[in-house]
């Protein structure tokens, strides 16, 4: 895509999310949709992180751990340290990135299914730690997290306190959607820069990359830290919306879903996780009608989709374009 086409596409996308969707919600009086779509946006951010670890050739089923750590970190910063949400949120991401460096250095030496298995365990470790540690308040979790306060920058008031909004769900919706767009713009820039090509080289062949002088362990950890940062930011905003965080806020099932979102959207496309999250989230809800068969149908459809569309939903659009 040429830069002008990119800018146009981004503008249309932002217009739809920031103007069309709120308008549609007001007309149809489906106010609960704000909450649903906020969740989708946050899950998409966390999935975007998982996508980046796929990009360096690692199957990551541990993003739930970082979402949980991010949620707890921001809750503790806000409730116990009295920090503003606007500082606590990025700080929670940084905490996750730091934790992921410590965890990633040893485990990123593993490849394939071995790495995947270890990450799968991480989510459970995070949950059990949240239950056991004194600072996380065990099974009671951290509740009554105050809503985000006013956001100021260099003395200018950019946003009033969320408590003052009549429609708080709408305010959160805008926050989540803007954050999602920022995160994915940053990811897009990353994979289209030389850094992205270095990451791609890692995915293709780590031995060859290191013999070309690439510091493979450092680059791997960098990608994993960015991935975990996104997981942490997603978790932090989630905790703010729910005004609470519990050990069960993010579980192994969430970690698996983050991964499935990437598969479904397409591992070859940076915006894949966004589409994957949207489709998967609503697909699951729609199947609620099927009652006890919900999981069966859901899993069956996922398996079929992976067989028929191994490169994800976005490959539909791109393969047709190529054929034309």
């Amino acid at each position: 895509m040429r830069p002008t086409a990119q800018a146009l596409f981004a503008a249309v996308f932002a217009f739809v999310l920031l103007v069309i969707v709120p308008w549609a919600i007001r007309v149809t009086h489906h106010d609960d949709f704000y909450y649903t779509l906020s969740s989708v946006a946050l899950l998409a951010i966390a999935s975007g992180g998982v996508w980046l670890t796929f990009y360096i050739g690692r199957i990551n089923i541990g993003q739930g751990a970082y979402a949980l750590i991010g949620g707890y970190a921001s809750a503790i910063f806000v409730v116990k340290a009295g920090l503003s949400f606007w500082i606590a949120m990025p700080l929670a991401g940084v905490v996750c990135a730091l934790v992921s460096v410590a965890i990633g250095l040893p485990i990123l030496r593993l490849r394939g299914v071995y790495f995947a298995m270890v990450t799968l365990v991480l989510t459970e470790v995070a949950r059990l730690s949240a239950l056991a540690l004194p600072i996380t308040n065990g099974a009671m979790g951290i509740t009554e997290i105050p809503p985000p306060g006013p956001l100021g920058l260099f003395g200018f008031n950019l946003l009033p306190s969320f408590a003052s909004f009549a429609n708080r769900n709408q305010a959160f919706y805008f926050l989540c959607v803007v954050m999602m767009m920022l995160c994915f713009a940053a990811l897009y820039r990353l994979v289209n820069s030389r850094v992205g090509r270095l990451f791609a080289a890692l995915r293709q062949n780590e031995d060859l990359a290191s013999s070309m002088g690439l510091n493979v362990p450092a680059l791997r950890v960098l990608a994993y830290a960015i991935s975990s940062f996104l997981g942490g930011v997603g978790g932090a905003i989630f905790a703010a919306i729910a005004q609470s965080v519990y050990p069960s806020s993010f579980t192994v099932a969430d970690s698996i879903n983050f991964m499935l979102n990437c598969f479904l959207g397409g591992l070859g496309y940076v915006f894949g996780p966004m589409l994957g999250t949207l489709v998967l989230y609503f697909g699951w809800d729609l199947l609620f009608q099927a009652g006890q068969y919900q999981l069966l149908i859901y899993s069956g459809v996922m398996i079929i989709l992976m067989l028929v569309l191994p490169n994800g939903l976005l490959s539909l659009r791109f393969s047709r374009k190529k054929g034309a």
């Binding site: 820069s193 030389r194 060859l208 070309m212």
Partner: protein, 259 residues
């Protein structure tokens, strides 16, 4: 002048199995030295020891007088000792040109943040890498196929691409892992020309190879390995007439051709 690469009393044991036993040789600046030996003689292990993908049990490798054994592979590459891999080991999913551009990493002057923000320094690097990649690809006869996905290229081109990726890293010593394996007569001839041309660029070459005929034609000197130990070293003519070599290597080779 001092040798560019010195292999000193190198040994590697895997448990009780001694893969390489007290091997020493030196590579002079600008020469082509080949390490040959029958299958399982320990050639590949020597290769991995020199490029530091494997740590020696005893002994050491010196590059320009400095010990490189035990350093991380990317540090060894940074110093100027770059290895290639056998045939299909390339960046399969990237185009030929992108592979070579990525491999210019060691010539980077900008850092990762520059690249992310696409600063002037990053753009200067990118321009330079692009130009240099085009030159290298042209040099190795890959100009026509540079925008193909590497995984789709035929064998001959893959070998050339492997060398192109190696050259992009600006090596002083380039280690080639079986550059003639599985090639027919014509392909071998072209590969030999290519290897000589690489030497003309001022790169010292160390080959690990199985194909004796090709090695005899291209090498300045040859070291012969059998059962992990060096049994001979010298000019091709000396190796050809060495009784030990004929017994240990050529005899076995005759049989293996029949299989």
């Amino acid at each position: 002048m001092a040798p560019i690469l010195q292999v000193k009393n190198l040994s590697k044991a895997y448990g009780g199995l001694i893969a390489v036993n007290d091997v020493s040789f030196e590579v002079e600046r600008g020469e082509i030295l080949s390490v040959i030996g029958p299958n399982g003689a320990g050639k590949s292990t020597i290769f991995k020891l020199i490029s530091s993908f494997v740590k020696p049990t005893r002994g050491e490798v010196l590059f320009e007088g400095e010990r490189i054994s035990g350093l991380a592979p990317h540090i060894v590459a940074r110093k100027g000792v770059v290895r290639t891999f056998q045939e299909t080991t390339i960046f399969k999913g990237l185009t030929a040109r992108d592979s070579v551009v990525v491999a210019h990493h060691l010539r980077s002057r900008a850092n990762l943040i520059d690249y992310y923000l696409n600063t002037a320094a990053a753009r200067r690097d990118e321009d330079e890498f692009g130009r240099s990649s085009d030159e290298i690809l042209e040099f190795l006869g890959l100009g026509e196929v540079k925008n193909e996905i590497a995984g789709n290229l035929p064998q001959g081109h893959l070998r050339a691409l492997g060398i192109a990726i190696g050259l992009a890293a600006n090596p002083k010593v380039l280690l080639l892992d079986e550059p003639f394996a599985g090639m027919n007569h014509d392909e071998t001839r072209r590969a030999i020309e290519m290897t000589r041309a690489v030497r003309e660029r001022g790169v010292t070459l160390l080959l690990v190879e199985h194909d004796i005929a090709a090695v005899m034609r291209i090498s300045d000197r040859i070291a012969v390995i059998n059962f992990g130990s060096k049994i001979a070293e010298g000019k091709p003519a000396e190796i050809q007439s060495n009784d030990k070599v004929i017994e240990a290597y050529l005899g076995v080779e005759d049989e293996s051709i029949g299989i």
